[in-house]
Amino acid sequence: MSTIETQMLEVSLGPQHPSTHGVFRMDVVLDGEYVVKLKPVMGYLHRNHEQIGEKMTWLGSMPYTDRLDYFCSMTNNWAYALSVEKMAGIKVPERAEYIRVIMAELTRLLNHACAVGFLLSDCGAWFTPVLYALRERERILDFFETVSGARMMCNYMRFGGVRVDLDEQSLAMARAIVARWPAFLDEFEKLMTENEVLLARTQRVGILPRELAINASVSGPVARASGVAYDIRKVDKYGVYDRFDFRVPVGETGDTFDRFMIRILEMRESVKILHQALRDIPSGPCIAPESKLRGFKVPAGDGYGRIESPKGELGFYLVSEGGAKPYRYHVRPPSFVNLTILEDMCLGHKVADAIIILGSIDIVLGEVDR
């Protein structure tokens, strides 16, 4: 550190800043280029999500969950549906479970591809990786569009199943996407993961120690990169995840590079799951016959349903008074919880590092602010 008494520079990165992934603000105190203090300021995208959820009918909240993490509407739907099903005791048909797995894993593919791309863009790779990722994402979005009618705000799942069944044609479409994905990953890895600049930028930068990750209840790829072998797909075995053969990659160092690599490895595992799911998908109804759309009521009580969303543990805590609306509607968003450790990871690094550390957490502000 310099001995000259330099002025500390307080910089407000955001809310209008090219790489805060939305309207997020970091109040950074800089000593030269070093970050000595960082305060995340959230709430610019606050939309009263939870309050609205308490005013809507149970099913009426489903389209709102799309807007939480607007990259991953499918997994948001699933998490909400899961917790309501838990409380109402609805049994989901097998085919619907398979369809949900397919949708969730496709969502994981598109989310991780974009997250990795944006991370590289934060490193300054001038959008090239992002556009490669977006090219692949388009295919998945096309698939979502054919199935659900919407590209991003799918509103696809229902209590007890899914809204629209997959026909043979869309299954073939999904198979084509999955068949193509490893080639994309290979290309991406060849272009990027051996790039010296990237290695120099990301290795040993923003280390998140294992203990801190556990204490801060960080989840998802960020936690796994720090060596926390915790994947709700393995722990809860919700849906039909116990039927698939897949592995969970776990990192050692917990730095930005590990978070980057874990996402790429997870994509490879997701491809495996998708292969199996698309092969084994049984026939049958896509929604439980007893589930009804109108006059749907949940027995009094509370319940917490959680899934492994691409960004981590996405949970819905719901309290019912037996009526048509939830009494309490609470979301446990992975982005928000993962964001709490931002300052610990950034201190002592440079501004440029703070940016890529933020990128490596992979936040979506819709979910952080709700």
Binding site: G124, R201, P249, V250, G251
Partner: protein, 384 residues
């Protein structure tokens, strides 16, 4: 200039002397500015098109055939935009900065020989002049950053000052080798020294190393992508020109691009044989052929720049400075020794081999020292 003056006197003896003199001064300036502004406009189009191709996009394709008039549209758009000056800004300096960015870029053009027998001013210190003047841009960048009264601008300005000052050193050291080989500082002299089969300096071991160093430094000097920290978009928004809009912003862009072109021109002159090439000595059309060669070589340099921009992530500020001081500078110094070995060797073959060996050892050692502990091979556990 003198040649034009004589031509004017020869063909139009009636013109008064002062007018002829003024013409002789202004004409080359007009030609050079015109040509390079066209090249600049074309380059923005080429860059956007090439970047688009690299990124699976089409690039500009709406204005004119294949988007060729895009630069014109951009220029008009920027011209008609409101010029916003921050209330707290230092008005005079804020205004002067973009102007002063363009000036050194164009001043360097004065010593770039674009064709056989066509160099605006054949200074006998041409290359030194170019290196010296291009340093001046750093002050303009600093003025812009400081006058904006914006923290991002100030950070960008400080970064650019540190960067340009650091990269100036290995750049000059790399150029020294060429001056040793050519025995002159004149840009035309350097080009003429590269005559003959494989005479280009880039084909010599020391020349190749110097070329790589010089090219990297030139990219850093004009803040092209792996080194574009002064305007790193993802970190400090737009660096020193965050607070600029309208035509002042266009001037910054122009200064940057013209600096990139002129730096490319200097590189071509020093390493790639300038305007030399088959047919550049033909009696009547030699100047045209040689200009063609010059711009073709310049195109290669430009493509390298664009390619790097489309594919490389950005380095961090400490890595950037470390790269200049710990790797490029020692290498450039070793390179001078290698050049001396080559120069004093008993015959050219021995010199070639000896200097190549020295350089290879130096490169391996320096890379080892500098990157030894940074990169790790990672392995990942899998839980199933």
């Amino acid at each position: 200039m003198d040649a034009i003056y004589k031509l004017i006197q020869h063909y139009a003896p009636k013109i008064p002397d002062l007018l002829a003199l003024a013409l002789a001064v202004l004409l080359p300036i007009a030609i050079v500015m015109g040509v390079f502004l066209t090249v600049f406009a074309l380059l923005t189009w080429v860059e956007r098109k090439a970047l688009g191709r690299i990124q699976n996009r089409r690039g500009p394709n709406r204005v004119g055939p294949v988007g060729l008039f895009q630069p014109v549209a951009d220029g008009l758009k920027l011209l008609t935009k409101e010029d916003i000056v921050p209330a707290a800004a230092d008005k005079v300096v804020h205004f002067l900065a973009p102007v002063l960015t363009v000036v050194p870029a164009f001043m360097v053009l004065a010593v770039v020989p674009v064709a056989k027998g066509f160099v605006p001013v054949d200074l006998n210190i041409g290359v030194l002049f170019a290196l010296a003047v291009s340093t001046g841009s750093v002050l303009a960048l600093f003025m812009a950053g400081w006058a904006s009264r914006n923290k991002f601008s100030l950070l960008g300005a400080m970064r650019s000052v540190a960067q340009v000052v650091s990269y100036e050193v290995p750049m000059v050291m790399a150029a020294v080798v060429i001056l040793m080989a050519a025995g002159t500082l004149s840009s035309v002299g350097i080009v003429e020294a590269q005559r003959g089969l494989a005479g280009w300096f880039v084909f010599k071991p020391w020349g190749l190393v110097a070329f790589v160093i010089f090219q990297l430094c030139a990219m850093a000097e004009v803040a092209r992508t792996p080194f574009d920290l002064p305007e790193a978009e993802s970190e400090i928004v737009a660096g020193y020109h965050t607070e600029y809009s309208g035509f002042k912003f266009a001037l910054f862009q122009m200064g940057e691009y013209v600096a990139a072109i002129t730096m490319g021109g200097i590189t071509v002159t020093m390493f790639l044989g300038g305007y030399l090439g088959p047919g550049s000595d033909l009696p009547k059309i030699g100047w045209l052929v040689s200009a063609g060669w010059f711009f073709a070589k310049l195109g290669i340099i430009v493509v390298i720049n664009i390619w790097a921009r489309g594919t490389w992530p950005r380095v961090r500020v400490d890595q950037l400075l470390g790269f200049a001081w710990k790797l490029l500078l020692p290498l450039a110094l070793v390179n001078i020794v290698a050049m001396a070995i080559w120069h004093f060797a008993s015959n050219k073959l021995v010199g070639w081999g000896a200097s190549a060996v020295v350089l290879a050892v130096a490169i391996v050692a320096l890379v080892k020292i500098n990157t030894g502990q940074t990169f790790e091979k990672r392995s990942y556990r899998f839980i199933s």
